[in-house]
């Protein structure tokens, strides 16, 4: 029952949010739903898997893991949003970039879409049928498009249009791939994951490979793998920070979609083909992102390119396979919480300094006594410094590559990580140090707790993941790595 509620509760709350007239009631509903979702997820975490709708939906271990990170991030986002919406100015106001006048979308629509977005993501985590998986992933795009257009100015509209069109086209190709996958079984196999995996060795290998290419390009667009990532920096820089945080969940569930397809590929004995492509796309993304990280002047775009880089790391780890897959799943959790914290902090910085330029922000450590130090800690966590979790996960992936004797790949991986490290820390530390400039907030002004507690909690989780994994979690991760890695 709790499994079902992870979809139904946010869906119902989302529908209700559209019609509730009172802002305060609606914000409370959102926070309560987020907590309830987290509780249901934790309850479902240990419960044995049960089939729903003839096995079309079922929470297996990969699903548990992805649902957990989605739920945790949404809970942080909900707390932050409640305060954020309260602070957002009503009516018309001036755009800080170009000075034009704009207003916000209705708050009811924003909250409603947030909750529906959560429902769609939970649906993807549960889907055991590649057709329904597609339906879920497309639903996440559609539910999140209005979120990007919260600030109604022309830049966010441009970002929304790019997002809608690029992702819809990408996902349409994934649908083509899904059909092709079903056809590789002669049209006699349903799209259910167990059926496809059982039919594995009998599937037509040519069609299967073609299907995987289409699915990888399609879901890869959504996951932000280069060179299909072009929508991502625009969306991240023009939408509210909360939406950027939730987009991290979105990238994650798209990764889950790719892993689901790879399960079929592994069952058919074609794992090597898929792994080669994943490694290639992974390194391409890391390289592409590294180049743009080195000369980035906008700190929200900086974080966006860092997401592209980290998605590359996930794909690389999955492509290396074995312990690399396990490292990839570890990295998924760590990156989720760290990137979530960083986006919320970026939102705080933006609210205080009113600029997205790296050069416009100086002396964060002095000007923002909470967000400043957290920002520095987040930078270290993001770039894989010990004792944060990313260090362990990146090391695991590297060791897996070395133990498979893929020294060249491991070398490139390390080089790209170093480039990204230089890019992110150069820009980020420049913002943290120095004397606050003229546009800095007055010293001693207290930051609202709803803006500082969620990133603090997320960074503590990242720290914890570097030191200790609870037994139930590591059990689920081991099984998940085995299932998605096909071992």
């Amino acid at each position: 029952m709790p499994v079902r509620l992870t979809i139904l509760a946010p869906a119902a709350a989302g529908a209700a949010a559209f019609v509730i007239p009172d802002n305060r009631v609606r914000r409370r509903l959102m926070v309560v739903t987020a907590i309830a979702h987290l509780v249901f997820t934790l309850m479902a975490f240990r419960a044995p898997a049960r089939q729903m709708f003839d096995g079309a939906l079922q929470l297996d271990d990969p699903g548990r893991l992805f649902l957990l990170i989605t739920s945790v991030l949404f809970a942080a986002a909900a707390f932050y949003t409640a305060g954020y919406l309260k602070r957002e100015a009503k009516g018309q106001r001036q755009d800080m970039v170009e000075g034009r006048i704009f207003s916000n979308s209705p708050e009811a629509r924003f909250t409603g879409c947030l909750l529906l977005f959560l429902a769609a993501m939970s649906f993807v985590c549960l889907a055991q049928n590649l057709g329904l998986l597609w339906v879920g992933v497309e639903a996440t795009t559609l539910a999140s498009a209005p979120l990007v257009y919260f600030h109604r100015h022309h830049r966010s509209l441009e970002a929304t249009w790019k997002y809608l069109l690029l992702c819809s086209v990408g996902i349409a190709l994934a649908l083509f791939g899904t059909y092709m996958l079903a056809l590789s079984g002669g049209g006699e196999v349903s799209l259910g994951l167990p059926a496809l995996m059982a039919a594995g060795p009998t599937l037509n290998p040519v069609l299967l490979k073609a299907a995987f290419v289409f699915l990888l390009v399609g879901y890869g667009t959504k996951m932000g793998l280069a060179p299909m990532h072009t929508w991502l920096p625009d969306v991240y820089s023009e939408s509210p920070s909360v939406v950027a945080l939730l987009s991290t969940c979105l990238l994650n569930v798209s990764f889950l979609a790719i892993l689901r397809v790879r399960q079929v590929l592994c069952a058919a004995g074609q794992a090597d083909f898929g792994n080669t492509l994943l490694v290639f796309l992974g390194l391409t993304s890391m390289g592409w992102a590294a180049v743009f990280l080195l000369r980035q002047t906008d700190y929200k775009r900086l974080l966006a390119y860092s997401s592209v880089e980290h998605m590359g790391i996930l794909a690389f780890g999955a492509g290396i396979g074995g312990a690399g897959m396990f490292g990839s799943l570890m990295h998924l959790l760590v990156h989720g919480v760290v990137k979530g914290a960083m986006f919320l902090l970026a939102g705080n910085i933006l609210a205080a300094y009113m600029t997205k330029n790296v050069s416009g922000v100086r002396g964060l450590l002095r000007a923002l006594p909470f967000s400043g130090p957290l920002w520095v800690a987040g930078l270290l966590a993001l770039t894989g410094m010990p004792p944060f979790g990313a260090f362990v996960s990146e090391l695991t992936i590297l060791r897996a590559a070395l133990s498979e004797q893929r020294y060249v790949l491991a070398g490139i991986f390390l080089l790209l990580l170093a480039m990204a490290f230089i890019g992110i820390t150069t820009a980020g530390m420049r913002m943290a140090q120095g004397q606050p400039g003229a546009n800095a907030p007055e010293a001693g002004k207290r930051e609202p707790w709803s803006a500082t507690l969620p990133p603090l909690a997320l960074l503590l989780a990242a720290l914890l993941l570097g030191l200790y994994y609870p037994v139930p979690l590591s059990d689920v991760m081991t099984t998940a790595a085995r299932i998605t890695g096909g071992f």
Partner: protein, 213 residues
């Protein structure tokens, strides 16, 4: 002698060529609607059985692709008060040349990928590939946001044709989910076009070019 399924597939190819060559957005919308109605017959014809499920899916597809989508698109075209011309980056004759090349490539690709299973016309893969290529080409080379949505639907039609003929065992839930998603996608895109028009007084997607490195 062509079967009815093959006839519909040939119709898909011909309408695609019209889409590449015409300058009127209105005609494009009608062509896509026409494709949609033809495609709606495929779930019935593909397996030669008139089950209630197949009938329902067929009806829903016809309603959506043949009536609701054109309605939505004509609405957003009217609300935008724009000249109903496609205004492509690539001229019409060059577009048609692309069409011929794409057709050749699709036939070659189709011959490389013979479909397993009996009862699936060998025409299917080339036609699906061709329609997808035309849709992608249209999205890239047409300037107006409405044209981009129209070509998204062309792309979707190609995929739908492939799925409707090739799949016997897809569940009802899946088919309805896909239809619902496409519907909402077009709906949301329609709203976005309305907003673009309000914000910029035009719907040329090429002027949405501020965000870049």
């Amino acid at each position: 002698m062509l079967s009815l399924v093959e006839l519909i597939l040939v119709g898909l190819v011909l309408t695609n060529l019209v889409l590449l060559g015409t300058s009127r957005i209105g005609l494009c919308i009608r062509m896509v609607a026409f494709q949609g109605v033809g495609l709606a017959l495929l779930p019935l014809l593909g397996h030669g059985e008139f089950t209630p499920t197949a009938l329902f899916i067929s009806g829903a597809t016809a309603l959506l692709k043949g009536w609701i989508f054109p309605l939505l698109l004509f609405r957003s075209l009217e609300s935008a008060h724009v000249r109903a011309e496609v205004e492509p980056y690539v001229g019409y004759s060059n577009s048609l040349l692309f069409g011929v090349a794409a057709l050749a490539i699709s036939v070659w690709l189709g011959s490389r990928m013979p479909l397993p299973g009996s009862g699936v016309p060998q025409l299917l893969t080339p036609v699906a590939f061709f329609t997808i290529l035309v849709g992608l080409f249209g999205i890239v080379t047409r300037r107006k946001a409405v044209s981009q949505v129209v070509n998204y639907l062309v792309l979707e039609n190609g995929i739908f044709a492939f799925g409707a003929v090739a799949l016997h065992k897809a569940q009802f839930l899946v088919e309805m989910g896909i239809l619902l998603d496409v519907f909402v996608a077009v709906f949301v895109m329609g709203i976005a076009i309305f907003r673009i028009n309000r914000e910029f007084d035009h719907i040329d997607a090429d002027r949405l070019a501020l965000l870049k490195e």
